[in-house]
Symmetry: C2
Subunit: 404 residues, 2 copies
């Protein structure tokens, strides 16, 4: 990715001009916020990336339909219930959520995108969801981004918001976003949701291209437990309120916008990995020198996803044998006899064999909030980074406890 000059700012989905949001307590999950609404005051280009799981929740299927036209004005989301695997009722309920939101905001239902996260296999309590949507519509405000970020959380321990500004053709545009990570209120499947807003003017096709590229290097490079949810989605709305020259080709503005979007996605993705269920530290796996970027990604993801590597990080164990083993079964092609491995700044293996290293030094670098493994394959110039977290007793506790 080309380097882009952008600045991080505070805020989330309401940082860009022309967006309002709200997050309210609808009662789906006891007394925490559970319905979020994000609204663009003007029509926006829309793009999305969705779970590859063939078992897709109803709101995923509906939003995939609605986004086809490339335009949208609102995102309505609930936490506490995934609206997945509930039969034909699932699509009816997702449509009703879109219709209710559209009616309140004076939009065609096709311009409302719908998302859900939470327990699977239980019908949505629409008698709570619909009043929640009505309250959220009434509370939409320029200050509502934080509440919306709270309303999409499940077992997340912190809300995840980020915003950046970048200059396009001399005009400052803002990109904001919020995300939720892997968790469940009843112990059920993890779900990743991310909603991004921007006041940049960009045609839908280029917005989709920039989003897909950013997701490939960010959200697709994080792992908590290897389980791909039925409900994952990343959406972006670009309403053009900043007044920059419309991006309608792969020009310099496109590159700057795409770079800033990727930076925003990376920040949210890393926040999700760091807040993985039960996690005590972030695991970052940097792969250098792969023969292709694809091979670099395969290795980085396999190492970050390895239960044995994750348990070793929990135990502060510089267990590089597990790292090279995971690289070996990743599907990537490389020569094991050329591999160098570092834990933090401590080299632990050279040319595929172990080096003597100070266990004290290794324990030091393994005790931080962020543990970095660097794997140099010396086989080309393909690079990639993946993020995960350690495997802890709390992961087992959270996901092994009874549902009731």
């Amino acid at each position: 990715m080309a380097q882009t000059a952008f600045d991080e700012i505070t805020g989330g989905v309401t940082a860009p001009q022309g967006f309002t949001a709200a997050g309210v307590v609808a009662g789906i999950k006891y007394d925490r916020k559970d319905v979020a609404l994000v609204y663009s005051e003007r029509e926006a280009s829309a793009a999305g990336v969705f779970t590859t799981n063939i078992v897709k929740a109803a709101p995923v299927l509906l939003t995939m339909q609605h986004i086809k036209g490339g335009k949208a004005r609102a995102v309505v989301a609930n936490s506490g219930n995934a609206n997945a695997c509930v039969g034909p009722r699932g699509m009816e309920d997702a449509r009703t959520m879109a219709a209710e939101t559209a009616g309140l905001l004076g939009l065609p239902p096709g311009q409302v995108l719908v998302a859900s996260t939470g327990v699977i296999g239980q019908p949505l309590p629409m008698d709570r969801v619909l009043p929640g949507i009505r309250r959220a519509a009434a509370e939409l405000s320029r200050e509502g981004g934080g509440d919306a970020a709270l309303a999409i959380m499940t077992t997340d321990t912190v809300a995840k918001e980020a915003a950046v500004t970048v200059s396009l053709g001399g005009v400052n545009v803002t990109i904001g976003g919020m995300a939720k990570g892997s968790g469940m209120i009843h112990p059920n499947m993890a779900t990743m949701l991310c909603f991004i807003t921007t006041d940049a003017a960009i045609e839908p096709a280029w917005l989709q291209k920039a989003l897909a590229a950013a997701v490939e290097r960010t959200f697709n490079m994080i792992t908590v437990d290897g389980d791909t949810s039925t409900n994952d989605m990343v959406l972006v709305l670009a309403n053009g309120a900043a007044g920059n020259p419309v991006i309608d080709s792969e020009n310099a503005d496109y590159a700057a916008f795409a770079g800033a979007l990727e930076a925003l996605c990376r920040k949210l993705a890393v926040a999700i990995a760091a807040d993985g269920e039960g996690a005590t530290r972030l695991l970052e796996v940097r792969v250098l020198g792969a023969s292709t970027e694809r091979d670099a990604r395969l290795v980085a993801r396999a190492v970050a996803a390895s239960s044995l590597v994750k348990a070793a990080v929990f135990g502060k164990d510089a267990n590089w044998g597990r790292v090279i083993c995971a690289a070996g079964y990743s599907g990537a092609s490389f020569n094991p006899d050329k591999v160098d491995i570092y834990v933090g700044d401590v080299q632990v293996a050279e040319k595929g064999g172990g080096l003597p290293f100070s266990e004290e030094e290794a324990t030091r670098v393994l005790s931080g909030d962020r543990v970095v493994f660097t794997i140099d394959l010396h086989d080309g110039d393909g690079d990639a980074t993946a993020w995960g977290c350690d495997l802890t007793y709390d992961y087992v506790r959270i996901n092994g406890s009874y549902r009731t």
Copy 2:
């Protein structure tokens, strides 16, 4: 697989005629047996299946060379050290193990197969290994199968042996085997080893074909943590001592032999899954009605490998949403709206949606030593079964503890 009439008997690798074995304490891992030797009194057809990890331990590479001729007489194995990722010394040490064994037994070194399991990245202590091999050679006996099975254990909690008899052309032949599962003495990577002996007479090509087919349905259908080791291997020696008509085509005797071999492999594979690190119960995932056997295997393996499913089994949680989710990302093709799911004999989902079920009943079936999920895809007649274990606090403890 065609059904085969076979009988289970007691014993392991020395149950077939013409094999002796020993297991001794060489001092590689404190005071437990750690060098195993299996010897065929006559030349035997040999076949093997090896790890697909591109990072292969030296003994794997050497044994792959030695087995090419289709003949072997002995298997020498050590636990406590994987002889992996130690540079050129690894192959030298593996060759020395073969040469020492060959010298003691009066064999060409190419007829000795070598295996190692244990910590990665540390050179083999040959000053202990070689005296161990000498002692093992001196102690070879018809009663030594049990000691050999003990000597290949790492964090296994029980030794794994099995034997079956089957009639081939009116002659009773015996197949015996021993295996070790996923574990490590220092916390390092899991390794699966299995050595099978038989007094059946069978040409190497047919032995290889029968072994590959059996492994595909048994050892390749178990999972403990999704990490494919650098050292995995399954070997079989067939010495013909039973005097059956030599199997040299895909005739009725081949089918009977292959069926009995698969049954033996299944018994050892299930024993490995049940003894997975930290496991409290065996997880069996039966998939019915897939459009192909390959799709059935993909679904069964993905469900058995899902951390979320495994944690739910630990927590006795009938969390079928995680089951259908894992099926959905398995790579298999099916229609989510046709899927029925059972936990034990309790149906929990029908046509992709949840059914009301008694949580008491579900807890009952989830409390046994073996938890069976049955997934009927109603999409064809492809069937498969996979085995795994629950994900427990002890898995994290075993793999997260410091190496020292």
